[in-house]
């Protein structure tokens, strides 16, 4: 059998054969929501701000539990995969180490002075997250919130943050503080996003039309030359 034939057989073997081998879509794909925080003013007290934190994927909470010493270290395997279990969020949420971590990593300042945080009772941490109430020294109309959760585990973590009146921000390693207006209106990101997305698709459509037009015109010119 020639070398070429062997290569051919190998290509076909890989093509047809590997289709039967273990499908691993689950290993490649499932991913959780990004880490989020929501900043809301207290409707009754002008000096209180609530920050609700919600973890990303289910494995993130397990990794955090391991780093806080609440879960066994062997839950994070050598290859980086995480053996997360359904009762992990309960173990993490019930621990004062976790509430301490949250108040250490999320800080609020109002009028240049730090606000005192307290984590509200946690129920269903993985699903509903945890909320901390921050009491500032006096009434506040804007607060500066710093979020540094999980970036100690991996610097690439991002936090998608939403505030009053549709304000949005992204917290990340180097950019971990943001000032939120508690009274004013947001910058209308939704409308801006719609316009930008429509503009991209419009430009794509125009390009496609231009390409089709050019190709057809060229074909027409060639045909005319041939017939002439």
């Amino acid at each position: 059998m020639s070398a070429r034939t062997l290569v051919t057989l190998a290509v076909i073997g890989v093509a047809a054969g590997t289709a039967v081998f273990t499908p691993r879509p689950a290993a490649a794909h499932p991913f959780g929501d990004p880490q989020t925080v929501v900043v809301t003013p207290d409707p009754r007290r002008a000096d209180v701000v609530h920050v609700k934190w919600r973890v990303g994927g289910p494995d993130d909470l397990t990794v955090l539990g391991v780093s806080l010493g609440l879960l066994p270290a062997d839950r994070v395997r050598a290859d980086g995969t995480v053996d997360y279990r359904y009762d992990d969020p309960g173990v993490v949420g019930a621990s004062p180490a976790f509430t301490g971590y949250l108040l250490d990593r999320i800080t609020v300042t109002g009028g240049g002075r730090p606000c005192t945080g307290a984590v509200e009772p946690i129920a269903a941490l993985a699903l509903k997250g945890a909320t901390a109430g921050f009491t500032c020294p006096g009434p506040v109309t804007s607060v500066t919130v710093a979020v540094r959760t999980l970036t100690d585990l991996h610097p690439a973590y991002r936090t998608m943050a939403t505030g009053p009146a549709g304000q949005r921000a992204v917290y990340e390693g180097a950019n971990d503080t943001h000032t939120w207006s508690l009274t004013g209106s947001g910058p209308g990101l939704g409308r801006s996003a719609l316009v930008q997305i429509a503009a991209v698709f419009g430009a794509l459509l125009l390009t496609a039309v231009a390409v089709v037009f050019t190709v057809k015109r060229r074909a027409f010119t060639v045909n005319r030359r041939v017939s002439a």
Binding site: V11, D33, A156
Partner: protein, 271 residues
């Protein structure tokens, strides 16, 4: 979620003022890298193209439909997550697992359709033989081997464009579940008010995926053509050309069933 290094760079670049050309290079490479990761229908595409003796154009169709579906999927989920509180309705890991089940069903359906087509082809040999004779003569193909009408039959379908629905379904299933990196880039863009730039990056990411899948498709088509050409001289290859379509159809069916099973187990664990 543990973001990969290329996607980290992408998210860093999304902050850069103006439109950073480097970001597009990273997006393209990230897309190509994502398509090379396991579970992206590469083997399915190769099996399909080898099994149905597709053409280069079919490989392009496949890559294109994966890229288009992936962009649509990222856009719909990203916008729903950012502006319509999608996470209050369903957790992302549940949504993506359901999408995997849907993708698995599409693959299973395509596999069963291929099996049925091949089985039907072998049952109606005498009929298809008569039919293909005329067709094959017209193209100047040689005859005289028992297996040739099997080949002719497949080619006949190919000229009809009969493989397009299968290719399209495989492409859609390959792009149905968004990649975490692309989703994060779009979500970051939407949160920062840079939706247009982020969408362009997602499109470039899809182009990276499409190029890799197209390349793999071309390899499968070239391999399959080589086998067909050599089949005249080698008995083993003759046997291979005869069974490859059935093997590919069976493999795709098994893969689809496997995808559904894995996703269902994962979904049960999440519940």
């Amino acid at each position: 979620m543990n973001p990969g290094s290329l996607s980290d760079r992408l998210q860093d670049l999304i902050h850069a003022p103006g439109v950073a050309p480097l970001a597009f290079v990273f997006a393209f490479l990230a897309g190509a890298g994502h398509a090379l990761a396991p579970g992206h229908g590469k083997t399915l595409a190769a099996a399909y193209l080898a099994g149905s003796r597709g053409r280069i154009r079919d490989a392009a169709w496949l890559g294109g439909s994966v890229a288009a579906m992936h962009t649509v999927s990222v856009l719909v989920i990203g916008v729903a997550w950012t502006f319509f509180s999608l996470s209050d309705l369903i957790r992302m890991e549940q949504l993506t697992t359901w999408l995997q089940i849907a993708a698995g069903l599409l693959v299973l359906g395509t596999g069963l359709w291929m099996l049925r087509r091949h089985l039907r082809g072998s049952h109606s040999h005498s009929h298809s033989h008569d039919h293909d004779h005329g067709h094959d003569h017209g193209h100047g193909h040689d005859h005289g081997h028992g297996h040739d009408h099997d080949r002719g039959h497949t080619r006949h379908h190919q000229h009809d464009g009969g493989q397009r629905p299968g290719l399209f379904l495989l492409g859609v299933s390959g792009g149905l579940t968004p990649s975490p990196a692309a989703f994060l880039v779009l979500a970051t863009g939407l949160f920062l008010g840079r939706a247009g730039f982020a969408l362009l990056l997602v499109l470039t990411f899809g182009a990276g995926m499409a190029v890799v899948l197209f390349g793999i498709g071309v390899l499968a088509v070239a391999g399959s053509t080589l086998v067909t050409r050599n089949a005249r001289t080698h008995a083993t290859l003759r046997l291979a050309t005869r069974f490859t379509p059935m093997l590919a159809a069976g493999g795709i069916t098994a893969f689809g069933a496997g995808m559904i099973a894995v996703a269902a187990v994962h979904l049960a664990a999440l519940a």
